[in-house]
């Protein structure tokens, strides 16, 4: 009960801060454009992206049976950065988000193809993801080298992540995939519960393991790709939220998964609100702040476990 009220409190705190904090202090904006086209969409995107990244992190941690997995473990983050960078350098008129989305999908398609052709196990999948991430990062560096200074700077800024959004549609692009993905996650939770105990264990209890694993990879790619396209590669939320939820609610995913989604939403909303005030009137990229806070928080969590 304490844990649930904590998560609800975190979401409310973050939401209130997001809506009321502005460059001129604390308060509900008098201009309805600022309220409804800037702050509300930004809040929606923060809630959706936070819950979504946390949900994807949990799915990959269960799928790969690896507590260090995050939505970017299979190279999705770096591939989407490469996609976005290619668009910025080669097709400036095209949407950066679309480039990032295509990059994320291509990375996952490659992982799926390798898994199917070579019959890769979980460890090999992670190594494969690392290889894809390294190649994509090298591609981004090459584009930095080739691009002019302004484009290079824009590329760098994109990789820091950010939730600036204009218009309600920007906000909904964070919320819609997360609502769909979360409903699917909740639907398969009993099967995921068995999968986290081992593939033989799950299969002998009625789970069609291979189709489930393939569907998780596809859903995570679509879900993460859509969020990264809108918000950039925001780190640590997808890694830390499942760990925090597991610590408070245990390994039973029927409790842990909803808590992970809530924690992800609350953490990113609070981090984004903080990112807007910590260097006001300038805004710190939220991806930088999540990494700055997430690293020490993760170590503290691990030490507390012992």
């Amino acid at each position: 009960m304490k844990g649930i009220s904590g998560i609800i409190g975190l979401i409310i705190l973050g939401s209130v801060a997001q809506l009321w904090i502005g460059p001129n202090g604390f308060g509900w904006p008098a201009d309805s454009f600022i309220a409804w086209q800037l702050r509300v969409p930004r809040l929606l995107l923060a809630l959706g992206a936070g819950a979504g990244l946390a949900g994807c992190g949990l799915l990959l941690q269960v799928l790969l049976r690896n507590p260090l997995a995050s939505p970017y473990t299979l190279g999705v983050g770096s591939a989407s950065a490469l996609g976005a960078s290619v668009v910025m350098v080669a097709i400036p008129s095209a949407s950066i988000g679309f480039g990032a989305w295509v990059g994320a999908l291509l990375a996952t398609a490659l992982v799926l193809l390798l898994r199917r052709r070579a019959g890769l196990d979980n460890e090999a999948l992670v190594l494969c993801g690392i290889a894809i991430a390294l190649c994509a990062s090298a591609g981004v560096l090459l584009l930095h080298y080739l691009a002019d200074r302004a484009t290079s700077s824009a590329m760098l800024r994109w990789t820091m992540g950010g939730l600036s959004s204009v218009g309600i549609w920007d906000g909904l692009t964070g919320v819609i995939p997360t609502v769909i993905g979360s409903l699917w996650l909740l639907w398969i939770l009993p099967q995921l519960n068995l999968l986290q105990l081992g593939e033989d264990w799950a299969q002998s209890r009625g789970v069609a393991v291979e189709p489930l694993k393939a569907s998780i990879l596809v859903v995570v790619a679509l879900w993460t790709g859509t969020l990264v396209a809108q918000a950039g590669p925001i780190s640590f939320i997808g890694l830390i939220a499942p760990h925090m939820a597991r610590r408070q609610f245990g390994y039973d995913l029927r409790r842990c998964a909803p808590a992970t989604l809530g924690l992800g939403a609350g953490l990113l909303t609070c981090c984004d609100a903080l990112a807007r005030v910590v260097m006001a009137p300038a805004e710190l990229p939220v991806g930088v702040l999540t990494a700055l806070l997430g690293g020490p928080a993760f170590v503290a969590l691990l030490l507390a476990k012992r």
Binding site: L194, W201, Q203, V207
Partner: protein
């Protein structure tokens, strides 16, 4: 449940060669053999988890996982990593269809009975990562019982257990079988004395083939046993009426 002309391999390495075996209901069949002789592969094939190179496995293995779970429960050799789930959560998880969020009343009843049979009732609320190795093996076996299937395939359920824990586990298994004559179990054991004490039938596997099959007394006193394990000492227990087998002398 039976396998006919079954051959299994890992890549190009053959493990089981043209083996035929039928498991009967009402019997506790124990599979023995030295390490690497193909016991686990055979069990996994019967559970539908290892695709045969040739031959056929009849029974539950022919069904899809969703349907198979109602026919057989499988206890793998390597148990799931011990999570901070409670024993009752572990036992209930998978005791019902895998798309059910909460277990039915019947399932809860089955789980309660399974815990009782294995003497785990008092530990039902304990977290699995605080249990001893023996207690955790009993919890995992209770999860198999709770599945409510007629067939059990158990891969080394007594691995790493002391004499007392092994006896508690085998006693629970024997009681589970006796509760319903339609139930049958195939159990891999390394302890030949547990086999002598509890098995209704013993199957000796050597180099991927059945070397001896019959009542434990016959199999454990056969020369085939020495072909597989080397020189053994055997004598009859003075009070209990079963064979005692001691390991090979170096």
């Amino acid at each position: 449940m039976r396998a006919e002309n079954l051959s299994l391999s890992y890549g190009s390495d053959p493990v089981i060669n043209n083996l035929t075996l039928a498991i009967n209901p009402g019997e506790l069949t124990v599979l023995i053999g030295v390490n690497g002789c193909g016991k686990t592969s055979l069990l996994r094939a019967l559970a539908g988890l290892h695709k045969p190179l040739s031959g056929t496995v009849f029974g539950a293995a022919q069904k899809q996982p969703q349907a198979r779970r109602y026919d057989l429960a499988y206890l793998p050799q390597t148990l799931p990593e011990r999570a901070s789930l409670s024993v009752s959560e572990l036992v209930l998880m998978g005791a019902d269809a895998p798309n059910r969020w909460y277990p039915s009343r019947d399932t809860k009843e089955r789980a309660k009975l399974a815990l009782e049979l294995l003497g785990m009732t008092t530990l039902a609320d304990r977290a699995c990562d605080t249990l001893s190795g023996g207690e955790y093996r009993r919890a995992a076996l209770a999860a198999c019982f709770a599945q409510g299937t007629p067939w059990l395939l158990l891969d080394e359920p007594c691995a790493g257990l002391d004499l007392h824990q092994s006896a508690v586990l085998m006693n629970g298994l024997s009681r589970w079988l006796k509760n319903d004559s339609k139930r049958g179990a195939l159990v891999v054991l390394h302890d030949l004395n547990l086999c002598a004490q509890w098995a209704d039938r013993c199957v000796l596997l050597n180099n991927g083939q059945i070397e001896a099959d019959g009542d434990p007394e016959t199999v454990l006193s056969s020369t085939a046993l020495e072909d597989a394990y080397g020189q053994l000492q055997r004598f009859r227990h003075p009070q209990r009426d079963h064979l005692v087998v001691l390991g090979p002398q170096q």
